[in-house]
Each structure stands twice: as structure tokens, then as C-alpha cells.
Amino acid sequence: MIEIKDIYKSFGSNDVLKGISAVFKPGVTNLIIGGSGSGKTTLLKCMIGLHHPEKGSVEYDGREFTTMNFEEKIEIRKEIGMLFQGSALFDSMTVEENIMFPLNMFTDQKRSEKLDRVNFCLERVNLTGKNALFPAELSGGMKKRVGIARAIAMNPKYLFVDEPNSGLDPKTSIVIDELIKELTEEYNTTTVVVTHDMNSVMGIGDYILFLHEGKKFWEGSNKEIAHTDIQELNDFVFASRFMKAAKDKF
């Protein structure tokens, strides 16, 4: 479980996060949604320590993260897997080397054991046999899946996903969403997904945190999101004609 309390973050005079608090539970898909500039990626970066919040705390199963020193943070980070918006695969390494990288760094396993783990992760994301390819040879969806395979290589307790559907076609987006949900339930990970994709929200949003102008405006599930009176949330959720039509129909 990850608990964030009263997170404030600003860049110069621009206050990006204004006192965000939330609890992200394990085994369910937690979504942070909001429009561009609402602070969702900044919140994610504060949670994983890429940004340092001015105020507030982030607790990983009761372990306060923001006040930890470098060495203590490393121990938490070994339990974190992350899929970046652009996948962030290492260009100079093959798919196999990318997935094996954290295993090489932090385990003393034999090469055969590491290779077994790599192959298992690739099988899990339906990319069996793609070991020798380089990131430049992969499609956008395949890159995302390799990113997920690398993220789960170390059996993470916490999985962070930044904009998993950006640049993907709707069909591939659904595959990625379902994969995230399956992995979350299968390994009981605490999964936090930043997205503004409404298909993801309706499809996998067990818990949804809606941010608007750096503030928490609403929290709930995908079953509740269509029935709120909050203007800002409705403007966001039903911005597209398709969603409006769907709302009118139901």
C-alpha cells in the first residue's frame, strides 16, 4: 500500500501540486487522471522520488520515503517497477539485455536462471522469442510490453505506469491495459497508473484519483465516475462526443 499525505510541489512561482492526499491499495489498479498540466505526472514523480515535494509525505507500507537517505531509497526502489511514457528502454541493449539489466545489477543468480526469468517475463507479455531485437526494431506497443517485462523482472511490490496508452492504437491500448490489470491482480502489486485515456479509466479503473489544477477534486471507482455532479470531472470525462453519446444512452 502507498499512502501520500498533503503533497505540495511547485516549480518557481508555479504551484503544481496543492496538498494531495490519497491511499493506493495493493491488488487493484489505481489511476491518477486529469487534464494536461493538472499535476498527475508531477505527483507520480514525487511518489517515486524523481521530484522532491516541498511538503508532505509518501509512505510505502508505512515506510516514509521522502525523508530517506540515498541508500535507504535504493532499498525501496528495488521493490518498484516502472513503465515510462516513452518506454525508456536502453537503446544500446537488446530486449533480453534490457530485461536482464536489473537482475544483473541486484542479484547473484546464474546466467541460466536470469535467462529463465527473462523468458518468463517475455512470455508473460506475449513477446516470446524477441530476445535479440533492439528497441529500434520494435513497434510502439512492443516497446511498452518490453517496458512492462523489464518492470516486472524483479517481482516488484509497487508498479508505476506513466501514460501507458500514449501513441498506441485503441486495440493495442486495450491489450496493455488488460496486461497491467492482470499483473496487478496476479502478483498483488500496488499499481499506480497515470493516464488521461478514458478507455483505460472505464476499463481498469478500480480506484481513480482525479486531479484538477493541482488539487484532488474527486476519488472513486470507474462505476461511480459517470454519476457525479462535479463539473470539472464531468467536463474531463465527457469531453469527447463518444463519451457524451454513451452518457446520454445510459
Binding site: 522520488g49 531509497k73 526502489r77 516502472m82 525508456a88 528502454l89 536502453f90 544483473n104
Partner: protein, 244 residues
């Protein structure tokens, strides 16, 4: 570099020299960088050094118009100039262009494509993993390249001088073997060590803090070469002042 940049550079170096997560992985990276910096630059440095030595000999011969000055001086001037100044400094400036821009753009691209963030999220000390092997390879391979450059520069002087008839082979060899002070080699190697550190660490700093996209990576790469060259020349003066 202004003071803020210098402060950030020092803080980055502090992070670079943290204890490595796994020595065997770092060793592989160091050898890879040694190959890139050392072996990869050998051809270029050899060509440049040989021609500079040859040109130096011709220019010294051209300026020695007095019959009272023995021609053996050509060899000894070329030897001391090559060892003390030309080989370390020219090698360093050429490498700042070749290696520096590569280091800066490699790390800068990793920064803008979130690969450095990915390393940090995995719990890896990204400055150490990315920069330490480059610095260690730089401070070992640049002195080796400078030694090779010295030999080739003096050899180039011999070829240029004898082929043009500016100096005879016997006079040149007598010149390079007369009054040789081995301390000049020490000064040159100290310079090479310092330059090796600058060539790798300054571009790494420029790349590591890039923000933006392709344009900013290119700008950082240019800045890395310019700042490295200026720093090399400033340190050249300081080391020469201190050691000679």
C-alpha cells in the same frame, strides 16, 4: 561555467564516486569505454601527431636562418615542444571534440528519453553507472594516447625533416637525444591525466543536466566541446606554471 554550474558539477562528481552497485558490471563498462576512447581514437591521434611533428620540423628549420645555430636544435626543439605542449594539448583538444561530443550526446539523449530516470527508479546510482567508467577510461587512456602521440610526433618530425632535406637524419637524431630531461615526460603525463578527466567529466555534466529534446542535446554537445577546450587550455597553463 558560472558558480552555479561549477557547484552542480562538483555535486555530480560526488555522486559519480559513490560505491558501485556491482563491480563486475562497472569493470565491463570501463573496458568498453577504454576501447571507445583509446582504441577508437588511435587512428586519428596517430595521423594528427605525425603531421604536426613533420610540420613543426619544417617550421623550426624555416625560422633557423643563422649559420651559428646548429641544425641539431631542430630535433631538440621539436622533441620538447611535442612532449611538453603539442602532444598533450592537441591530443586533448581533438579528443574533446571527438569523445566529448559523443559523451554529451549519449548521456543527453538518455536524459531526454527518460533512460536515466529508468536507471534511478531501478535503484541504480545513474551518475556512477554512466559517468564513472568514462572518467576512469579517460584518465587511463588519454595518457597512453599522449605517449603514442609524442613518439609519432617526434617520428613525424624525422620523416618531414629528412624527406624535405631541412635536416639530416643524423642531425635530427642527435638533436632529439641531446640534453633530454625526463621530467618533461612527467609534466606531459600530469597534463594528460588532468585533460583525460576534463574531456570525460565536463561533457558528461553537460549531457546529464539536459532538459528538452533533440535541439537541447545538440546545444549541450556543442557547449560540452567549447567548455572542455577552454578548461583544457586554462588547466594547461596552471599545470605548466605549477610544474615547470
Amino acid at each position: 561555467m558560472n558558480f552555479t554550474n561549477f557547484g552542480r558539477y562538483i555535486l555530480l562528481l560526488k555522486a559519480v564516486f559513490r560505491k558501485p552497485e556491482k563491480l563486475s558490471i562497472y569493470m565491463k563498462a570501463i573496458f568498453k569505454q577504454m576501447d571507445f576512447i583509446g582504441v577508437g581514437s588511435l587512428g586519428l591521434i596517430s595521423i594528427i601527431s605525425t603531421f604536426i611533428g613533420a610540420v613543426m620540423t619544417l617550421q623550426i628549420a624555416f625560422q633557423l636562418v643563422s649559420d651559428f645555430i646548429p641544425k641539431t636544435i631542430i630535433g631538440s626543439v621539436n622533441r620538447d615542444s611535442s612532449i611538453l605542449e603539442l602532444s598533450p594539448t592537441i591530443t586533448a583538444i581533438v579528443l574533446a571534440g571527438k569523445i566529448g561530443s559523443a559523451i554529451s550526446s549519449e548521456i543527453g539523449t538518455m536524459r531526454v528519453s527518460e533512460q536515466i530516470d529508468a536507471l534511478e527508479i531501478m535503484g541504480i546510482n545513474s551518475p556512477g553507472y554512466l559517468i564513472l567508467p568514462k572518467i576512469l577510461a579517460g584518465i587511463t587512456m588519454v595518457p597512453l594516447l599522449v605517449i603514442i602521440s609524442m613518439v609519432l610526433s617526434i617520428g613525424g618530425g624525422f620523416i618531414g625533416g629528412t624527406l624535405s632535406g631541412a635536416v639530416s637524419a643524423a642531425e635530427y637524431i642527435q638533436g632529439i637525444t641531446t640534453d633530454f630531461n625526463p621530467y618533461t615526460i612527467v609534466v606531459a603525463l600530469v597534463k594528460a591525466f588532468v585533460f583525460g578527466f576534463i574531456i570525460t567529466s565536463v561533457p558528461a555534466y553537460e549531457g546529464f543536466y539536459v532538459k528538452g529534446g533533440a535541439l537541447e542535446v545538440a546545444q549541450a554537445s556543442t557547449r560540452a566541446v567549447v567548455v572542455s577546450c577552454i578548461t583544457i587550455l586554462a588547466c594547461d597553463y596552471i599545470v605548466t606554471q605549477l610544474l615547470l
